[in-house]
């Protein structure tokens, strides 16, 4: 990771003081990355742009609720974008529109998430805890978190019964909670 001094928390606090220049700095800094996070979930460039638009309005509106004691500003922003992206895909009732061929085509794009985590020092804890999970359970967590797949979609993708996926999610979360705490 390149060391830099960009202070996401301070920019969010400035947004809470209605400093639109701070929002612009966050945009300049993170929009390309956030667009990629959103695209991975919504799978359409125009929808991803809508997600970022809505997410930045959310950031502006909700910056006052951000508390640096609760965590890093960048993670908070990523969450805002993910929730917006998830709302878009759920509203579009992707369950009905689920296209196994499309998902199959997309399944191997991008670097391996676990390998990327290993390369990032700040992500070391998550890497180690995910690595301790059985491979298929780790995959379930990442398909949900990064690709925004529902449990039904994950079941279809992995050819595993829905009930099994739900049990895996539950056990994985409990294991991760213990490991990450």
């Amino acid at each position: 990771m390149i060391m830099d001094r960009f202070d996401h928390a301070a920019e969010l606090e400035a947004c809470a003081r209605r400093d639109i220049a701070a929002l612009r700095r966050l945009y300049d800094r993170e929009a390309g990355f956030l667009l990629a996070v959103a695209l991975r979930i919504v799978r359409r460039a125009d929808v991803a742009a809508d997600v970022i638009h809505d997410a930045f309005l959310d950031i502006w509106e909700r910056a006052g609720t951000y508390d640096r004691a609760r965590g890093e500003g960048r993670a908070w922003i990523i969450s805002v974008v993910r929730y917006r992206a998830l709302k878009h895909v759920r509203r579009a009732s992707r369950e009905a529109a689920y296209d196994p061929a499309l998902h199959e085509a997309l399944r191997d794009d991008g670097p391996d998430p676990l390998a990327a985590l290993a390369a990032s020092q700040e992500a070391r804890a998550l890497h180690d805890c995910l690595a301790a999970l059985p491979a298929e359970r780790r995959r379930v967590i990442l398909l949900a978190y990064l690709d925004g797949l529902s449990q039904t979609e994950i079941a279809a993708r992995l050819g595993t019964p829905l009930g099994t996926i739900k049990a895996w999610v539950r056990r994985s979360l409990l294991a991760l909670k213990g490991c990450l705490s």
Binding site: A21, A31, A75, Y83, L86, G110, L126
Partner: protein, 251 residues
């Protein structure tokens, strides 16, 4: 129902953050987290600890028009200054159109708000006067947009120092302030010169004004006390006028 056992709450919070809850339950969790600090803390735990998983996501090239859309939406959300302004007489409306054109406001918001918040006022001690390069006599506008005569004088010295001198008494309401703007570049749009102090008389350091040219537009609008939240004028125009050079020959 939101469970009470710590493990169940962790699982629910985790499923919420992963996006695995149906819309109804997700909305219930969101509502509950507003009053349930423990649940909010568990949600924040997952948000923070899972975020590094995005390390594998490679940034995309930015979308050139996207910031403009965001800024435009923020502006409309702030109440829409143009919609709030009554129709103006024809001649004035041309000026208003220039100020109101959405294209003018690109990239302005950031700079303008920063300027509004960081108004630098020079010490009151009068330094040797630099010769006046431009005057702008701003005409007052009442609530209906009708002209009410000369109301404000802007003087720009050769060194770029800007002096603002009210010719009439203006009392902004509680929580409101007067904000001074200038426009020299249609592509850049109005730039805030700052929120004026009570009374309105102020001397601004030369750095405040990047460019000064004959015909340059100056405008004073009614804004929230901290200055326009959007970086562009949001309230009605109180005074408006253009810079003119004094006659080259002394009388």
């Amino acid at each position: 129902m939101i469970p009470t056992s710590p493990d169940e709450r962790d699982v629910l919070a985790g499923e919420y953050v992963l996006g695995l809850l149906d819309a109804g339950l997700a909305a219930e969790v969101e509502r509950a987290a507003q009053d349930d600090a423990d649940l909010a803390r568990r949600i924040a735990f997952w948000e923070q600890r899972l975020a590094p998983a995005t390390a594998s996501v490679a940034p995309l090239p930015g979308d050139a028009g996207l910031w403009d859309r965001i800024a435009g939406s923020l502006h409309r959300g702030a109440g829409g200054p143009l919609a709030a302004v009554p129709a103006l007489p024809r001649r004035t409306r041309r000026v208003r159109d220039a100020w109101g054109s959405v294209r003018l406001w690109r990239a302005v918001a950031a700079v303008a708000t920063a300027a509004a918040l960081a108004l630098a006022i020079l010490p009151p001690r009068p330094p040797p006067e630099s010769a006046t390069r431009f005057f702008a006599l701003l005409q007052g506008r009442d609530a209906s947009g009708a002209e009410t005569g000369p109301g404000w004088l802007i003087q720009v010295a050769r060194d770029g120092t800007v002096r603002s001198l009210p010719l009439t008494e203006v009392e902004p309401g509680s929580g409101q302030a007067l904000q001074l703007w200038t426009l020299w570049d249609q592509a850049r749009g109005p730039v805030s010169l700052g929120v004026l102090p009570p009374g309105g008389a102020v001397r601004l350091s030369p750095e405040r004004l990047d460019v000064i040219a004959s015909g340059q537009l100056f405008e004073i609008t009614l804004e929230p006390a901290a200055g326009s939240p959007t970086g562009r004028p949001t309230g009605r125009i109180l005074f408006i006028g253009r810079a003119r050079a004094p006659a080259p020959q002394p009388l």
